[in-house]
């Protein structure tokens, strides 16, 4: 809880941080040229240009194809996985939970790279497979492969939401159905599945919408055969006309937001109706797992296969690629082992800086971001008024803006606003973009921590004479210390993983590993990319290990 004045200051700053960059994008999209050029005037010609461009329509078609395709793969798989993990007696369930969530914390650009070096034409697994079977039946660069990989790597998102819905479902509703005469199959069909269907619907919208935002995978896998999606089309526009084609990029960005923003609102609506559905809580949530019997081997095999394809293959690919000098058919692995790539990384100051910057932005930047999210959380905490509802929507808005575009918008803000210009080539601009992009995620972490504090504990503080801000300082914040630590670790991992947001902010002094990989990939420096990717995964791994050590829940 905050007093009126600091509360208004926090909300104003928040609204500015979110709406100013976004407004700038929309404003730029209706200009005839980059906003800093005097000749730029209001016009719709940027839209006319991209709507006239066959590449745009191809990218739009591919985007929809990927979004639909990956939803069709991720939703059933994620739901089945969640059912097996939550409702059955599968052996080793507790040990499988963390590996299942790994893809969420690994940068998609690293995963994409991992697939290239593992399953690409001369990838490790492709070469081994070919030497045994004579040929490779897959083509990692096809649109179909992108859909499959995107689908597999988004299974954890579905898993998260459906498993928590299934966990909230008490056995008693199922037992009541059993006693009324329903077989276990009928129970699942008539009771369990319908009761979690709001969660499935919600996550369906989420995955579809993430499909509109994916960038790293199609950037790396779609390039060789020229499969563009909207985000990569936007990225390629940078150089399309030679001059900075800001107005065109803004027009594409506006088109993407026009699709994603309604989806975000739809999600919010679905979440609210899903909460209405959850009637069961507390004591009744005691569950009796379903005995799998002989089916457990099939279930285990399914999970193992998915983990192998989605986690082991790309991660092993990256790890292996970072320690070999070259690879291809007929190459003996032992002869090409080398640490040269790491030497190369640690000899170049840009690389070292990118690693240091990444660590800084994760640790210090993560802490400051959590502090900011906390302030916003306190500004709306237990004050259900118009201002709080406004903040709710402000917080949701950045979700509709893919990281790549958010980074671009922030870049423009730092170009546009004179007193911010000196900060453009400092790490602050990157931190600011990260903090805004992950606002909704961070606020969810903070709000779920704040909700744990019983309202009467705060009311008791008020009654004995503490002002709102005093209550926040002496009661609310001390009580959520553990939640804040957990949020910081999760934000650390997310900030290490982030890559697209930094792409447009990349300049000497603001290098971060993720953006560096994107830029190096374009120049074909595969060796360094491999080394940096491994370092990136190690950083995330450290965060994950700490999070597990402190018992941080990886989901709510």
């Amino acid at each position: 809880m905050l007093q009126t004045l600091p509360r208004r200051a926090v909300v104003t700053l928040l609204a500015l941080s979110v709406f100013f960059p976004l407004g700038l994008v929309i404003y730029q999209s209706v200009l005839s040229g980059p906003f800093f050029m005097k000749t730029a005037s209001l016009s719709l010609e940027s839209f006319a240009f991209i709507f006239d461009d066959p590449d745009f329509w191809m990218a739009a078609k591919n985007t929809i194809f990927i979004a639909v395709g990956m939803s069709l793969i991720a939703i059933p798989l994620g739901a089945i996985l969640a059912f097996i993990m939550v409702r059955t007696d599968l052996p080793g369930r507790r040990w499988l939970e963390t590996p299942i969530l790994i893809p969420i914390f690994v940068s998609p650009v690293v995963i994409g790279f991992g697939y290239v070096v593992a399953l690409g034409p001369v990838g490790f697994f492709s070469v081994w497979f070919e030497s045994i079977f004579g040929s490779v039946p897959w083509n990692i660069y096809s649109l179909f492969a992108i859909v499959v990989i995107a689908g597999l790597t988004h299974v954890p998102h579905v898993y998260l939401y459906s498993s928590s819905a299934l966990r909230n479902l008490g056995s008693d509703v199922e037992e009541a159905a059993r006693l009324s005469g329903a077989s276990p199959f009928r129970v699942a069909r008539d009771v369990s599945i319908p009761m979690v269907s709001p969660a499935l619907l919600y996550v369906g919208v989420l995955v579809f919408f993430l499909g509109f935002e994916i960038f790293g995978l199609p950037l790396i896998l779609g390039d060789p055969e020229g499969h563009l999606v909207l985000t990569t089309y936007l990225y390629k526009l940078t150089n399309k006309l030679g001059t900075p084609s800001y107005h065109l990029m803004a027009a594409v960005a506006t088109c993407i937001i026009a699709v994603t923003f309604p989806l975000v609102l739809l999600q919010r609506f679905l979440l609210k109706s899903a909460q209405r559905f959850v009637s069961v809580k507390g004591k009744s949530a005691r569950q009796r797992p379903l005995a799998l019997g002989g089916w457990k081997w099939l279930a285990l095999a399914l999970i193992a296969l998915w983990l192998f394809l989605t986690v082991f293959v790309p991660v092993a690919g990256v790890a292996l690629r970072s320690v070999v000098s070259s690879w291809g058919a007929g190459v003996n692995l032992l002869e090409v082992l080398t640490l040269d790539h790491f030497h190369a990384v640690f000899e170049e100051s840009t690389m070292i800086r990118s690693i240091i910057n990444s660590i800084l932005i994760g640790t210090l930047g993560g802490a400051v971001a959590v502090g900011g999210y906390l302030l916003i959380g306190l500004a709306t905490h237990r004050q259900p008024d118009g201002l709080s509802r406004f903040v709710d929507y402000v917080v949701l808005t950045p979700r509709a803006v893919p990281g790549l575009m958010a980074g671009l918008a922030v870049f423009w803000v730092f170009l546009f606003v004179p007193f911010l210009a000196p900060l453009r080539s400092t790490l602050f601009s990157v931190w600011f973009a990260y903090a805004v992009v992950w606002l909704a995620y961070g606020m969810r972490l903070i709000q779920s921590a704040l909700m744990q504090v019983g309202p009467e504990l705060e009311e008791a503080g008020r009654l004995v004479g503490a002002s709102r801000s005093r209550v926040s300082r002496d009661i609310t914040v001390p009580l959520i210390r553990n939640g804040l630590l957990g949020s910081w670790l999760l934000i650390f991992m997310i900030f290490e993983r982030e890559y697209s947001t930094g792409v447009y902010l990349l300049s000497p002094g603001t290098e971060v590993i993720g953006a560096q990989i994107v830029s190096l990939w374009a120049s074909g420096a595969v060796d360094v990319v491999a080394a940096l990717s491994l370092i990136n995964m190690l950083l995330v791994g450290v965060g994950l290990a700490l999070a597990l050590r402190f018992g941080v829940k990886l989901h709510d």
Binding site: G454, E456, L457, E459, A460, G461, R462, L463, V464, G465, A466, S467, R470, D474, I475, P478, L479
Partner: protein, 355 residues
């Protein structure tokens, strides 16, 4: 208003959205008096307490404490909760889990910038008063429910608020402890000469603990008075129903004689009772008699009615008889086990209310 009045609530109204919770409630609390806010759930009793505390936002009326307006819709006065200087004991006790017992009780004094040494002595005194001196360094989760409640009271009293508010103070204790705690709490309030406003949904708790009871129903005060008045002379059927265990018989008024009315229940059952409404002859009414006021009798007589005794239930300190009179199920208490069969039930006219 006399100068003994410490808390005055005048015509207070409060709504959640378009849903009115309090519809103009007025009450007074005198110095050294315990007043209970009693009512079924949804009657607005907790809302009234929280509005006095400053935790809910009324839209009409005023609240005055010791002559100081802390809320006045007309004058646009709304003192925030932390400046009202009231003590509130929460239903869940609301002890801060990250502070020790000592720190919980000390916090109000820290906020008032009391000197350290004085804090220590005042907190120790408060804890000693409530028999908690040895628990000062414990954390709330290391205490029993009863101890937590005492810490919560100590915290609410340590800064000497003029009025202490208690929200369902006994509801978190188990049934056995509740009666002991009730006596202990009443004793504490009387000994320390506190002025207390207590919310409860339990009428026996309200009667035992308070000097006066306010019975709320649907956001208005249905009736207020001493426990004896509330129990023995209810003004409406709702009050009669809420304050005790009753036999209720629907019927029509057959005859009126001064303050008494004859109610025709049907099946030849006719009862004389006290008129509590201005219902005229022929109108539908309810005849209500406390279970402890009706008596089984062996033979016919004045104000006696023939009934069927179905069964006797042993309750420990007495027997309860289950009786049939036509379609009505009645109850009566007695000291002996009675076999099933025909009996007579006596309804003394001064113990029957006609609403």
């Amino acid at each position: 208003m006399t100068d003994k009045t410490i808390l005055t609530v005048d015509n207070l109204a409060l709504s959640y959205g378009s849903n009115p919770i309090l519809k103009g409630v007025s009450m007074q609390l005198r110095r050294g008096e315990v007043v209970s806010l009693l009512g079924p759930s949804g009657s607005g009793k907790t809302t009234l307490l929280r509005a006095v505390a400053g935790l809910e936002q009324p839209h009409q009326g005023s609240v005055t404490i010791a002559g100081r307006a802390i809320y006045d819709a007309a004058a646009n006065v709304d003192i925030p909760a932390e400046k009202r200087e009231l003590g509130l004991v929460f239903q869940s006790y609301a002890l801060w889990p990250h502070k020790t017992v000592f720190d919980n009780v000390a916090y109000p004094l820290v906020l008032r910038k009391v000197a350290k040494a004085e804090i220590a002595s005042r907190v120790q005194a408060a804890l000693k008063n409530l028999g908690l001196a040895h628990l000062a360094e414990r954390y709330p989760h290391q205490l029993s429910g009863g101890q937590q409640q005492r810490v919560s009271i100590a915290r609410a009293l340590v800064y000497n608020p003029p009025v202490i508010l208690l929200d369902e103070p006994l509801s978190n204790l188990d049934a056995k402890m509740r009666e002991e705690a009730r006596a202990w709490l009443r004793n504490l309030i009387v000994e320390m000469q506190l002025s207390a406003l207590v919310v409860t949904h339990d009428q026996s708790e309200a009667m035992a603990m308070s000097d006066r009871i306010l019975l709320l129903n649907g956001g208005v005060i249905e009736q207020q008075g001493t426990p004896q008045e509330m129990y023995s002379s209810p003004k409406t059927h709702f009050v009669a129903d809420f304050m005790g265990s009753n036999n209720t018989l629907p019927g029509r008024i057959a005859e009126i004689r001064g303050g008494e009315a004859l109610v025709d229940i049907g099946n030849g059952l006719r009862l004389w009772g006290q008129r509590r409404s201005d219902a005229a002859v022929g109108q539908e009414v309810k005849a209500v008699a406390r279970v402890e006021q009706v008596r089984l009798a062996d033979g016919p007589g004045e104000h006696r009615t023939e009934i069927d005794l179905v069964t006797s239930m042993f309750l420990g300190d007495r027997f309860e008889y289950v009786l049939h009179a036509g379609e009505n199920l009645l109850r009566a208490w007695g000291n002996r086990q009675e076999a099933a069969g025909k009996r007579w039930l006596e309804f003394p006219p001064d113990a029957v209310w006609v609403f």
